[in-house]
């Protein structure tokens, strides 16, 4: 299942970038595009090892930057840093709790654009920044936070569909069977 799971995650990142690049409705209504990659990274960091986290950071970051005017590779470090920190604290986090998923998604979606902008400004790029950027940041946080539990639910369903289910054990034990005679 591991390789299949990794493939699903990378395919989800690929589809997420495609949808963000071609679906303009959030931008037209809310004035900001929602980025699902940090939410996907939260799921990956809580369920997979460090190699899958690195694969998602590099693959997802490269795909995002390739269709964007961002400098190539700028999204990799923030995504990886989020995954790395969550991976380190995995034992302390309540992965099953929807509330925890929401909060982690919000934190990841808040930090990822900040870190990307910080890197970009340090590299000499001049992105479009004004007071309205705060509104866009807020939309990204709320959108990403809402997307995180949905991603968990979606991948859990995929798990159920493709993974081996644990064998159910019957409570019947032959040695405890009451032998009944004819009378």
């Amino acid at each position: 299942m591991n390789w299949l799971h990794t493939t699903f995650i990378l395919a989800a990142a690929y589809l997420a970038v495609f949808v963000e690049a071609s679906w303009n409705l959030p931008r037209a209504i809310l004035g900001a595009q929602i980025d699902v990659l940090p939410a996907l990274m939260v799921y990956t960091a809580l369920t997979n090892d460090i190699w899958v986290i690195a694969a998602l950071a590099i693959g997802g970051g490269l795909c995002f930057d390739a269709v964007s005017a961002n400098p190539l590779g700028i999204s990799i470090l923030p995504l990886f840093a989020i995954g790395f920190v969550i991976d380190g604290a995995r034992e302390l986090l309540l992965r099953e709790s929807r509330h925890a998923q929401f909060m982690l998604g919000a934190a990841a979606c808040a930090l990822q654009p900040l870190a990307t902008l910080f890197l970009m400004l340090n590299l000499g790029s001049a992105p479009l920044l004004n007071w309205h950027t705060l509104w866009q940041w807020l939309v990204m946080i709320v959108g990403g936070a809402l997307a995180t539990p949905l991603l968990f639910a979606m991948f859990d369903k995929l798990h159920q569909s493709f993974d081996y289910q644990p064998a159910t054990q019957s409570s019947f034990r032959p040695d405890r069977e009451i032998k009944r005679g004819r009378l």
Partner: protein
């Protein structure tokens, strides 16, 4: 202390990032185009489904509506034919006068239609990708417009697609003119709310400028990228900056940047 596999992965990721940041610009451009090429099947699929939806919608339109639309188009066509004849007469007169004064001939705009295939997913750039590339004669800095007005210019060119930087992006500045007053300024990135995606700022106007809301703005022609006379938009409001030394106006763009499906590229 980091575990050994974690340390290896951290070093690997850092190495990838450092290498990417130090690649020469041309290699980065090629690399970007190669990676974004992975999305071409999906963009093609999205385009086909869009066309299929349009065809289904077309099949459902009633015959009566089509006849009415055809008659309306015929009327418009007749009007345009008459206007064209007038324009041709004016053009001949213009050419004759230019010849008399030995002025250079103005050339007609050569336009090429292209489809918008993607938008920049990040919120801090305004850019789109179109389905024309180097093989179609695209090259950087060609103006991009719709029938309503200027949209932006080509910033990067691949073999089969190009990136267009839109008006309002921090990297695009356009020399603009207000024909009513003859004043000039520069179209800058927008200071308006992101929901007002069709707004840009017109800066570097003089402090005693008589710019008023409602006036039209068009390209000035200076700088050599955009020819003179492409409509940009209309002034919405004006404010004073630099303690009254200069003015800045907000401009509502003529072209709707939110619903760009097809754009025209102005060929040299």
């Amino acid at each position: 202390m980091l575990k050994k596999p974690n340390l290896i992965v951290v070093i690997l990721v850092a190495l990838v990032v450092v290498v990417l940041f130090h690649l020469p610009g041309q290699t980065v451009g090629r690399f970007k185009l190669a990676i974004s090429g992975l999305f071409l099947p999906l963009f093609g699929l999205a385009g086909s489904s869009h066309e299929a939806t349009a065809q289904v919608r077309g099949a459902l339109v009633s015959r009566r509506q089509l006849v009415e639309e055809a008659e309306e188009l015929k009327r418009q066509n007749d009007q345009l034919q008459i206007r064209l004849q007038q324009e041709q007469a004016t053009e001949r007169e213009n050419a004759r006068l230019r010849a008399a004064f030995a002025w250079a001939h103005s050339t007609r705009w050569q336009l090429k239609l292209s489809r918008v295939i993607a938008r920049d997913p990040s919120n801090w750039w305004r850019a789109i990708q179109i389905d024309l590339g180097r093989r179609d004669g695209m090259r950087p800095n060609l103006p991009v417009l719709t029938s309503a007005g200027l949209v932006g210019k080509i910033s990067g060119v691949g073999e089969t697609r190009s990136q267009v930087v839109l008006l309002g992006d921090p990297s695009l500045r356009v020399a603009a003119k207000i024909p009513a007053s003859g004043e000039t300024g520069v179209i800058l990135s927008s200071s308006s709310a992101p929901q007002e995606n069709n707004m840009v700022d017109l800066g570097y106007l003089t402090g005693n400028s008589g710019v008023t809301p409602g006036q039209k703005v068009q390209t000035w022609g200076g700088g050599g990228v955009f020819p003179e006379g492409i409509p940009i938009g209309q002034i919405v409001d004006v404010r004073t900056t630099e303690y009254g030394l200069s003015k800045e106006a907000r401009v509502q763009l003529s072209a709707n940047l939110n619903s760009l499906d097809e754009v025209w590229v102005m060929m040299p």
